[in-house]
């Protein structure tokens, strides 16, 4: 099997065949022992014994804890990789992602109004959970399209709080790599 692995800002071509592993055409001595029912896997790399804790967050979207070091790896087969490339080339953009509640809680204050321009890092909504106020910030520059909640409202995890639209200048620009990945995971 052949994959394109997006990791640490790189794209590496990895071929897995009869227990052998080629990274960018170069053989690497890496193996993983069969699981034993725990989330911890024993692996080896070039004679080193590694403790690996893999978690799969979505299609091809892996989180690896290798001896305590964290990696995010998007593992795509050639077909998925071609789709991803085509989308990027076409500049497909879904617009800025809406702000969602990261945990269940209560909306304490809304710091923006519809039509406001926000910059990355600007406070948007304050949600209280576990008796602590958490200020949720805008991930990127955008304009507030609509506010879906009111102050004092209880919200569930992942509930949409505020929707954004791109600022005029950005409207034609392509989406970032991460967004394209996320979008594809949803679509397939």
């Amino acid at each position: 099997m052949e994959f394109f692995v997006h990791i640490d800002g790189e794209r590496l071509k990895v071929k897995v065949e009869n227990g052998r592993c080629l990274v960018e055409g170069e053989e690497v001595d890496v193996a993983i022992a069969p699981g034993n029912g725990t989330p911890v896997r024993s692996a080896s790399a070039g004679g080193r014994s590694l403790r690996v804790r893999p978690r799969r967050k979505g299609k091809g979207d892996w989180r690896l804890d290798v001896e305590g070091t964290q990696y995010r790896a998007l593992v795509l087969d050639p077909g998925q990789e071609a789709i991803r490339k085509a989308r990027q080339a076409a500049g497909v953009s879904s617009g800025p992602a809406p702000l969602r509640a990261p945990m269940p809680g209560m909306v304490v204050r809304i710091e923006v109004a519809e039509g406001d321009e926000v910059d990355a890092g600007d406070g948007v909504v304050i949600v209280e959970a576990m008796k602590m106020e958490n200020e949720l910030r805008a991930p990127a520059p955008a304009r507030v399209r609509s506010i879906a909640v009111e102050e004092g409202m209880a919200v569930d995890k992942d509930q949409v709080l505020v929707e954004f639209e791109p600022l005029e200048a950005d409207a034609e620009a392509g989406s970032s790599e991460a967004e394209a990945g996320a979008e594809e995971r949803e679509a397939t």
Partner: protein, 505 residues
Amino acid sequence: MIQSVLIANRGEIAVRIIRACRELGLRSVAVYSEADRQSPHVLLADEAHLVGPAPSAESYLKVERLLAVAREAEVDAVHPGYGFLAERAHFARAVEEAGLVFVGPTAETIEAMGDKTEARRRMQEAGVPIVPGTVEPLRDPEAALEEARRMGLPVLLKAAAGGGGKGMRVVASEEELPRALEAARREAKGAFGDDAVYLERYLDRPRHIEIQLLGDTHGSVIHLGERECSIQRRHQKLVEEAPSAVLTPEEREEMGAAAVRAAQAVSYRGAGTVEFLYQDGDFFFLEMNTRIQVEHPVTEMVTGVDLVQEQLRVAGGAPLSLTQEEVTWTGHSIECRITSELPEEGFLPSTGRIGYLETPSGPGVRWDGGIGQGFEVGLHYDPLLGKLIVHAPDREQAVARMSRALAELTVDGVETCRDFHRRVMAESDFRTGDLSIRYLEEHPALLAEEEPGAEGRDPRTAAALAALLEAERRRRLTPPRIGKEGEGRALSPWQTATRPWAGRG
């Protein structure tokens, strides 16, 4: 002497107290909410009683219910732990009025120290240095502005009834003050039911150093040295250690003596802590906590004194088991609080069921935990899952030991702040002991995931591992076929079930 103790708490501190009871031969009676039926403290205690539904206001904070259980279980004493009712004078009073021993100081002491303006006044009287600040609580933005100008910015807004960082705000400019005052009062009201806040001068780069005290009913008060808890986020401690990397023996003696004076000023009984801000050899009283602290284990590790057992002994009327001269300090201890929060995402709380838990062990390692496999981490309670504590001959070895232990800690099912602690242990200012309570502001990179290209990263190996895992997953999910790939018919699961080799690629 007391024979049996009701533990009016949950989580790791309830486990800690039950362990002390067991070792002293006392009967332990746990209480639990509907969310905690299967919690470690329930499983460990000699007896356990349901006190109500999951929200703490309807269970762990229900005084009448707790006292009813105490009567039913015929206990002699009530240990409040920390948080919940530990520093509520009305609870201490209700326990005593029910004819039971409250494991802690008297209601009057709790009252005096719980009201921060009153505490400051008393400390001033006892000759303990305090940070310049307002003595009266503030409600009016105009008055606050005037006080702030008088003291000089930046200033700190604090809830009069507060603790644990709730209702606290640092204000750097006059424009921020009205909004910060509003937020601090709202948080104070929500957390403590009282929106009184006060202002004090904000030191620019102080360390948080606190002194552990023990007092008995025979008038003895001793100190067990300091803990440094400078690594904090919004005044919530994250990493604690004993001793401090900077305190000289003379300064320790001076601060210890001031803390003992503070305790004697309120006839202190039990375990308590006097918190100070320390900067360039000066120290200022911050507050007194009239309970066992989360970070008490680092003191236990370096002094060899079991603070919870000592609390239970003096509550039963026994004198302290050691004198000031008998207190000695050996080696260095560090504690990391393992919480279900994501530092990489602004300390967002994470919830879920603990599917797998592996706690570190080996020389000099201690795990004080309140979770077990299958445990559901919800949003009803504090996010503290457990505390990882190490002890080693010196600070450098303690840091190395903590790094080693953190790498062994595996919690699956809920996100934790473990990786944050790993980054702290590797950070050079932490390693050299150059700390202040601004540590996290000064090192924002610790609150983010490692950058690509950081030392020790090996994306090629990780990419190979990820590809192997993805290949393994695809093989498992694709029914094996007879004949050449892409042809033939799929085997049914009934056929492959008895053929373990089938489907291995």
